[in-house]
């Protein structure tokens, strides 16, 4: 069981439509890498806003407080997406001791204005089954806007 951001915040505006299996896969990844932060993307056709293919990325920092895609792996991803007419629809990462809300570093470094930034917090239950929260945001020019998560089957 997990807690989604559906309607819990007063200023939730946009919506992320995402398959349940993708949410489950992000949670599984976050638990596996706990206590380090896990990170990855879900890509989809250019301009579609539909996340279709989840790609786990290496956290080159291997850290409980930071993440960074490995530059070579990110470049390989870029080439595949570029050839396929895809773009990053979701950037996800985990917080392992804090809530599922973008940190100051997350906001300062956010560089995919078209993307949904999904935060998975394993702070409550760690690598085990238990409460976990998943929330989604847009981060543009330093402004964080939370959005609803609409699960599709």
């Amino acid at each position: 069981m997990y807690c989604l951001s559906r309607g819990i915040a007063p200023n939730v505006t946009g919506v992320l439509k995402i398959a349940r299996e993708h949410v489950d896969a992000m949670i599984a990844h976050a638990r596996e890498d706990h206590p380090d932060e896990a990170c990855g993307v879900i890509v989809g056709p250019d301009g579609s806003d539909v996340p279709t293919r989840l790609v786990r990325m290496i956290n080159a920092d291997r850290s409980p407080t930071f993440f960074r895609f490995d530059p070579q792996e990110q470049f390989e991803l870029y080439k595949v997406m570029s050839a396929a007419g895809e773009e990053i629809i979701v950037v996800y990462h985990s917080h392992t001791s804090t809530e599922a809300y973008p940190s100051r570093t997350d906001v300062a470094l956010a560089s995919e204005p078209q993307a949904h930034y999904v935060l998975v917090s394993t702070a409550e239950s760690g690598a085990s089954e238990g409460p976990i929260s998943v929330r989604s945001y847009h981060i543009v020019d330093g402004v964080v806007t939370e959005e609803e998560i609409d699960l599709t089957e």
Binding site: P71, D106, S111, P113
Partner: protein
């Protein structure tokens, strides 16, 4: 003499929305200076204190320029430069 520079979404505000621009030069820095002339403000988002910004990755053809001379990385006609902001946070 033309080098294609692929521009990430976040920097397309400096290129009128163009996904790629072209410049000339025999080093990455010369190419960036050339495209800066037509896309003012772009270089500053890639370069800081005469070095590549820490959270911007730049590739010439398939090579990460951090391992091939940084701003002095050689460029030639037909090369493709890819600018990718690091995906990172805390």
């Amino acid at each position: 003499m033309s080098v294609e520079v692929r521009i990430p979404t976040i920097l397309r505000t400096f290129t009128g929305g163009a996904k790629a621009v072209h410049g000339s030069g025999t080093t990455l820095e010369q190419v960036l200076d050339d495209i800066e002339a037509r896309n003012p403000g772009l270089k500053d988002r890639i370069v800081e204190s005469e070095a590549l910004r820490r959270f911007v990755n730049v590739y010439v053809n398939d090579e990460d320029v951090r391992f091939s001379g940084g701003l002095n990385a050689p460029t030639a006609d037909g090369d493709v430069v890819v600018v990718l902001p690091a995906v990172a946070g805390g």
